[in-house]
């Protein structure tokens, strides 16, 4: 599974992208966030307040209850500020 982080999510975690093996107990984006939080203080800080996080699976916006599978590209980022 490919994970992507942008803006301050990326800065707090310390990397922009990584490839992980999806744990068997993780079925949704929200489950993925709970698992990521356990991976270290940077992750815990990045996902401390998930109201400030947006999610994309395979480059489309999704809600936290979106199912995820091992082939997915999942991205985590703050609300967008372009334009």
């Amino acid at each position: 599974m490919k994970l992507l982080y942008f803006a301050w999510v990326r800065q707090r975690i310390g990397v922009g992208q990584e490839t992980v093996s999806l744990p068997a107990e993780v079925a949704t984006v929200a489950g993925l966030v709970d698992w990521l939080r356990t991976r270290g203080p940077g992750y815990a800080e990045a996902f401390r307040d998930t109201r400030a996080i947006r999610y994309a699976v395979n480059q489309e916006y999704v809600e936290p209850d979106q199912p995820v599978s091992a082939d997915d590209e999942v991205a985590f980022f703050p609300p967008v500020t372009g334009g």
């Binding site: 803006a7 480059q59 489309e60 916006y61 609300p79 967008v80 372009g82």
Partner: protein, 150 residues
């Protein structure tokens, strides 16, 4: 219909001329150009860095443009968005929409930039005397985008 993400500046005159060249059905061209300001609230801004999500950005921009084409009789449209470091006064984004009719061109242009602001995965890192900070999303942008929801 075209979307581009690039570090280089764009030539507004050349982009607009190319957009409508040879299409004599066009009666009006609406354009919005976003520019880096030198202030944010009370703070002086030395510059900013635009980050984006390659792949998803182009996909979202194309979806935004397709939505505009579905809503208005558009002859041609263009979105060019820059990434990388930009100084005050530099162009950030060019949005343009050509139509037979003025109102469609203007409305579609406003729609494109309003939706882009809340949907396209770009983020601004602003440089002030206090250091670098990520620009917060603004409720006024959500409100502007919500006008077009249906």
């Amino acid at each position: 219909m075209a979307v581009r993400v690039q570090e280089a500046d764009f030539d507004v005159g050349a982009e607009l001329a190319a957009l409508t060249a040879g299409n004599h059905k066009v009666g009006g061209l609406g354009v919005f150009i976003g520019v880096v300001r030198d202030t944010a609230g009370d703070a002086a801004v030395a510059g900013m860095t635009l980050e984006h999500y390659p792949g998803m950005t182009e996909r979202q921009l194309a979806a935004i443009e397709a939505e505009a084409v579905a809503r208005w009789p558009i002859e041609a449209s263009l979105i060019v968005h820059r990434v990388g470091r930009l100084a005050p006064g530099e162009n950030i984004v060019l949005v343009a929409c050509a139509s037979a009719h003025r109102q469609a061109a203007l409305d579609a242009t406003a729609f494109l930039i309003d939706w882009l602001k809340t949907k396209a995965p770009f983020w601004k890192l602003e440089e002030t005397a206090d250091g670098e900070s990520w620009v917060d999303a603004r409720e006024s942008d959500d409100a502007a985008a919500a006008r077009w929801r249906r």
